[in-house]
Symmetry: C2
Subunit: 154 residues, 2 copies
DNA sequence: GGAAATCAATCAGTGCACTGATTGATTTCC
DNA sequence: GGAAATCAATCAGTGCACTGATTGATTTCC
């Protein structure tokens, strides 16, 4: 019967955290390029020529979502898709000059935004924050695909 | 030119955290009722008869999103919408018996899921996690509407 | 070497999230 | 008391996120 206090629910806090970030991103970084789109650009700066599925894996986007994000970046002419001559199932992705330029510009703004976003915490708390969030995400992510030993038992 | 390490970007971590939560919610709580939908049910258990806009404010959903969520809950017959006789703009919302039943059932499961979700952290770390995430969200949320003094100065 | 299994990408369908514009009711304020 | 301002709800448009099914190419394995 009794209602619950949502402020003790990590899922609810996670949603609010992302909304807060989205808001700040829109005002401080870009209204055109979203945070997931920047993550894709960044992955392709680190490793040009990746295929779409692998980019999705790197940045944490599933096969359907990564397809849409990449199609939007392609429409904005920030990346090129070329069919892999070695494997006709894959597309190889590479940033255009425009794509590189946008990535460079947003990298600077993103750094500033991160500072503002974490400003309410002390330096030690900021490190702790990043560490705790990452550990919780990694652990839950690990539950998706059962670890090797379990799979081997089948 | 150099790519950036996304694991130091709170926004990227926030997105991954929410995905991780979504995954766990689907497997441990419900595939039909989503976490935002549960938040709405919970708000109406706490304060029956709220209007749609206020519910949105309580759970952190904007006017468009709350409209969709409530329409889905209505379609599932978990809540009733009644035009406010005092103010013809508003609808007053109230859970049905089914809505109360679902809220009760999911409350139990959600508590279990929260434990699993936070299990990788020690008890002290769990408290810290909730506190840090909440402080960062609140601060960013506070930037949306400038505080009283600032508005008064205009 | 050719059928079976695997795999990248796409499609259909559902749901959250936001912005800007519109509609219709209420409140404010001369 | 009636025009102007405000306000709740809705609509149109865009983007992220997931699942299950399909398509077409490649790899595996007898």
């Amino acid at each position: 019967m009794a209602a619950v206090d949502l402020s003790t629910h990590p899922g609810h806090l996670a949603r609010r955290l992302q909304q807060a970030h989205h808001l700040l991103w829109n005002t401080m970084v870009s209204e055109e390029i979203t945070s997931p789109q920047f993550a894709v650009l960044n992955a392709l700066v680190a490793e040009p020529g990746l295929d779409q599925r692998t980019v999705g894996e790197r940045v944490g986007l599933d096969r359907s979502t990564i397809a849409e994000v990449i199609s939007r970046l392609g429409r904005r002419a920030l990346l090129d898709k070329v069919r892999d001559p070695q494997d006709g199932r894959r597309f190889l992705l590479r940033l255009t000059d425009d794509g590189l330029r946008v990535h460079r510009k947003l990298t600077v703004r993103t750094a500033r935004m991160n500072q503002v976003f974490l400003a309410p915490l002390s330096a030690e708390e900021q490190d702790l924050f990043l560490d705790l969030v990452q550990r919780v995400s990694d652990a839950a992510e690990g539950l998706r695909n059962p670890p090797e030993p379990l799979r081997a038992q089948r």
